[in-house]
Subunit: 142 residues, 2 copies
DNA sequence: AAATTTTATTTGTATATACAAATAAAATAG
DNA sequence: CTATTTTATTTGTATATACAAATAAAATTT
């Protein structure tokens, strides 16, 4: 069934969630080859590009709650892709060598993911849509 | 931090999820007065409006997996807002009287939720945005 | 009519996420 | 310099969702 045929399709809650789930499925596929969920992959990329990042910063960057960041880090630590150093109340996150080595593959996955939807939407339409979603987010911010 | 300042803000995965979470938070607030999560509320409204609906139809209507629908129904059954009758492999869902009685309140919550964002976006902009998200979903459908 | 396939639903398990409380360090106020 | 408040992070617990397997009924094939 097409989403537009469903009864509450005119509702933003409904539509935003349906879109997120659909995009998530595509993203999960795109990162399957490195055995990471999209959020884990994004977190790892951020840490590789800026080693030492603190959970609080990651929380801002990924727009996820601190507790969620902790959980993501725990998993990546178990996979030996990054390590935590704790000094006082500050935690710093660093990629391990094997984490760092993953970077090219991660970028490849990201590229693939982009292609997935840019192919269907066209580049300009994609950019436009993402931007108008940002505007919506920022407006709802209040 | 505004989403547009974050590093992967140009990414659809990231943006679609951030939007969904933000909208979800607003929706949760809107339905707090009836003590239901948004998905539970939508499911209940559908069943009140069309008593006897089957899980499979609900799954289509709400764009959620059958197993998720079962879980939502279980919870609403515990709250005595609906009941299941099972006949062969077919299950029918009916609202209980107290479920039915909730309808006006549910509609009030829905209205409140709409107002929340229509206020900020304007009516036309809201409709336009939801529509363009649909188009995106349908295009990604392939 | 028996065997097979398809369909509808549920169950067991796993995931990502968040909230609230706990911890502990740092900053500030008295 | 002690007491209080603020800040950064983690932990315990709860939620919504999905996947894969299980179940069982119905439909189809042979």
């Amino acid at each position: 069934m097409k989403i537009s045929e469903s009864k509450y399709s005119n509702c933003l809650y409904f539509t935003a969630n349906a879109l997120a789930r659909k995009v998530e499925r595509i993203a999960i596929d795109s990162w399957k080859s490195v055995n990471l969920s999209p959020s884990h992959a994004y977190l790892l990329m951020l840490v590789i590009e800026e080693p030492g990042l603190q959970p609080g910063v990651l929380s801002d960057q990924l727009q996820l709650k601190p507790s969620t960041i902790t959980r993501l880090i725990e998993k990546l630590e178990k996979k030996k892709l990054l390590i935590r150093t704790m000094d006082g109340r500050i935690t710093n996150i660093y990629p391990t060598p094997s984490g760092k080595n993953l970077l090219p593959k991660l970028k490849e996955c990201l590229k693939q993911f982009y292609q997935n939807y840019v192919e269907v939407l066209g580049k300009e339409e994609s950019v436009r849509l993402v931007k108008s979603m940002h505007q919506l987010i920022d407006k709802l911010e209040g």
